[in-house]
């Protein structure tokens, strides 16, 4: 069997390893658009602060990891896929044929329609190359504007502050990490970041990036102009699927897959940030673009590709953990609520917040936590166990912080 994987992020690498585990004889080729050493975007903030070297971002640390597992890594971009001929065309013109193809091409950042984002000094923070550029310009005392306070923007916020820059954050929505936190939590993160020295402008849009006096100048919709040596654009990502143009593979905001991670085209599978898979605990399908979902996708897709059976896929749980300059926040599942009971405790002075959402069957379906690091994983355990909380529901409604106690009480 000849397996080809497009993408060498977490989904691609885990898929390659799982393929090898389940099919010791098959040929496995992994195509990496960003060099021969697959790395993790999650580690970029720590590279920015100098906590780790570039090698510290690598997904696997052993030098011969891929060789010793007979995983061939090709460092090229993919320009085209022909599902009729079962071939993948690389940007250097080479063609690679497959028996089974996994598309794990990840996501790519989007630029908002703001004039001037093509100027020198405007960067995304997505690739290692971006990171190198940021390191070069974000020096002590320099003016930096971060456009977008979503998850990606927030994970590099700390590194920018740590580099001693004058940081202004511009976010169009009314709070920070709007897709991860509600109004209360997002506002608490904002207050925290301001206390840590960032200038945070929410409900504010950048309208243009110009050049003036040898510096960049970001104009926002209030009319204010913010000078900048560096502008970092982190206003969201989209599935990286341009190279699939012209194929029959069905897509929405991501490649549509079934419960066996198959696309609508034979022998083509998809996983990770580019895939729209079943979502846990909702009737829907979603692109999560998070690390745990990427590795879970990669693993299950590979098992399916080798003919293994994982049973009915129950869907991936949306979850995030974020550290904004020392304030740790986490979100799980359907924290917006599904019409059941909800409870929250707010301690703004001490930056502690906990919100739980239950469904009508008294099962936990979502949670937000802020200022807590102990046993947060139990929240995932409780949501995915899908067990009614029994007497613990009443206790959690009294004090939602007793979540770990509830988990241990119910499971042990």
């Amino acid at each position: 069997m000849n397996y080809v994987i497009i993408g060498a992020g977490p989904a691609g690498v885990v898929a390659a390893e799982t393929l090898r585990k389940n099919d010791p004889e098959g040929d496995i080729t992994m195509i990496s658009g960003e060099g021969a050493s697959p790395y993790s975007r999650m580690a970029i903030p720590y590279f920015l602060t100098g906590k780790i070297e570039e090698s510290g971002t690598h997904l696997r640390k052993a030098k011969d990891h891929y060789d010793s597992n007979s995983i061939k890594v090709i460092a090229e971009n993919v320009s085209k896929v022909d599902t009729k001929k079962s071939t993948v065309t690389l940007s250097n013109g080479d063609s690679v044929s497959y028996d089974k193809l996994l598309i794990a091409s990840g996501a790519t950042p989007v630029k908002p329609p703001v004039p001037g984002l093509d100027r020198v000094g405007v960067h995304h923070c997505w690739t290692l190359e971006d990171a190198h550029n940021i390191v070069k310009h974000a020096v002590k005392g320099s003016d930096v504007v971060l456009m977008g306070a979503g998850f990606i923007g927030c994970i590099i916020l700390e590194s920018l502050l740590a580099r001693g820059v004058n940081l202004t954050v511009v976010e169009a929505e009314d709070r920070m990490v709007p897709r991860m936190m509600n109004q209360i939590g997002g506002t608490m993160i904002k207050d925290w970041c301001i206390a840590k020295g960032a200038n945070v402008l929410t409900s504010t849009r950048a309208t243009s990036v110009d050049e003036a006096d040898g510096k960049l100048a970001v104009t926002v919709d209030s009319g204010d102009v913010i000078p900048a040596d560096l502008v970092v654009v982190a206003t969201g990502v989209k599935s990286n699927t341009d190279f699939l143009d012209g194929t029959d593979i069905k897509m929405e905001d991501g490649i549509l897959i079934d419960d066996h991670f198959r696309t609508n085209v034979d022998n083509v599978y998809a996983a990770g940030d580019c895939a729209k898979g079943r979502e846990f605990n909702s009737d829907g399908w979603a692109v999560h673009a998070i690390q745990p979902t990427a590795t879970e996708h990669g693993r299950i897709a590979a098992v399916n590709m080798t003919g293994g059976d994982c049973g009915q896929y129950r869907g991936s749980l949306s979850m995030n953990v974020l550290d904004t300059a020392g304030l740790v926040t986490a979100s799980f599942g359907q924290w917006e609520g599904v019409g059941g009971d909800g409870v929250e405790t707010v301690d703004k002075d001490n930056f502690r917040y906990m919100r739980l959402e239950f469904d009508k069957d008294d099962m936990l379906v979502g949670a937000l936590s802020l200022g807590r690091t102990d046993q947060v994983g139990c929240i995932r355990g409780l949501i995915q166990a899908r067990k009614p909380m029994g007497k613990w529901k009443a206790r959690l409604l009294e004090d939602p912080n007793r979540i770990a106690e509830a988990y241990v009480g119910l499971s042990q």
Binding site: R352, Y353, D399
Partner: protein, 615 residues
Amino acid sequence: MAWTEKILRVDLTKGTCTDEALNMEWADQYLGQRGLATKYIVEETDPKVDPLSPDNMMIFATGPLTGTCTSTAGRYSVITKGALTGAIACSNSGGFFGNELKNAGYDMVIFQGASKKPVYLMIENGDCQLLDAAAHWGTSCWDTEESIKANHGDPMIRVASIGVSGEVGVKFACVVNDIDRAAGRSGVGTVMGSKNLKAVAVRGTLGVAVKDGDRLWEAAAAGKKVLADNAVTGQGLPAFGTQVLMNVINETGALPTRNHTGSQFEDAHAISAEAMAEPRASDGKPNLITNAACFGCTIACQRVSSVDRTHFSVKDRPEYQKASGGLEYEAAWALGAATGVNDLDALTFANFICNEQGFDPISFGATLGAAMEMFEKGIIGTNETGGVELKFGNAEALCAMAELTGKGEGFGAELGLGSKLLCEKYGHPELSMSVKGQEFPAYDSRGIQGMGLTYATSNRGACHLRSYTVASEVLGIPVKTDPLETEGKAGLVMAFQDATAAFDSAGVCIFTTFAWSAEDLAPQVDAACRGEWSAERLVETGERIWNMERQYNNAAGFTSADDNLPARLTTEAATSGPAEGKINGLAKMLPEYYEARGWTPDGVPTNETAQRLGL
């Protein structure tokens, strides 16, 4: 090392919290907790101060071993001038509060002054704030603890609080931590209430370092082995708790019954450890659910109990049907034998109420016993008791009075005076079974002679935890002495008093002394603390502390006349059991004791003694 070397001074009048360095010279001399905190009180306050005035100081103190791996080393004490006694008070508590305070970066917290409005102190790793307690004032210890944890979003916060009894001035109010552990005696909670301080909440994650951790680990392991191999600490206490004593002491003829009118209780078995383990009729489950441990304790004597759901006290009251702290021997005696009540569930319920509203079950039960005797003698009637037939053995009356006392309502407010003031009020001071205003615990000194001297000379008023000669006189630890003999008891009491002061001040539980001598504790203190600590130095430190407490009490106005027992014990002979015909021989023991102590015949440490001890 071992000490954090930092204390927190809270001025409740000014509303300020200030860090200051621990006086390490004093720490070398007084070790920690009981000894060291008393030193601060001696140095900084007027011994004649009114216990309830803002000028009285109150200290929450840990010992140098608190928070380490030494078995039982999670303890703290509340040290102040006692509201019940007017003497130096030091009430010791287990649970998990003491180690948390140490982990938050403090050896002790000194409270001075009084707040104008109810406040609580929140300590988190060296960050300290006085916060408004208006929402907690008027609520129980249980509700206060739960709501502080919920409000701060951290179930791991430890809370020591007073209940309503402490707010309304019940003289024997305690400070309760971890739902059912208490700094119980002498009215330390009453002092806290007078300062408008509802609670101290602590979260500490800083860690406790010691001088030589590996050596402490080895020494602590050796100590744990001694505890495990000992019949009392390895088997008796874990299996039966302190309640193992109920039948034993009854058979010794030293179980004070019905306000000390008798010294054996015919229904002792019904309220004993054995009864707690027997399945009850209604649901086939025993009263006792399990044993439990305080921080770091390898003995685990705590009882966890529940009241029979069909019992009158908890019927239709689900909040009292849950498991909670069960009966210890002293509480079972005071709520049971002292009142003649033989209903185990009623005792357990009353004990829950003591924990919930924060008052001492020993003083409460003993005071109720005195009130019952007055009722039976016609000194008080239903006019005074709000219609309650306050007869010996009335279980309903016990439960009702516990609830009233917890809130200081009705006749509960009178019981809240303690037996001394209550009996004086009705013209019968001789019926108060107390010394220095504090009620006796569960040993009749006619049947265990050494305990008479223990009670009479205890620096905090009648108390078994200042020199537990029961160990020697009944259990044969470390050597068996005759409980009916007075000979040699002066020296025995003194030795127990000094050792106990050292153990308390180190931060370990006094129950270790069933198995440990100072020889077992010394290597652990020596590994943890700066300087060199031998058994001799520990005992000398204990003696220094004892004498310092005595000097404080003398300066507060106590004299040898206060080293006395109620006439009932020295003039009315026991009427049954091995001690039949016996009175307590305090008159013989006391002069011997003063002499052994190096005190004048008036009970004052001589200059020579004071100098020898560096006082």
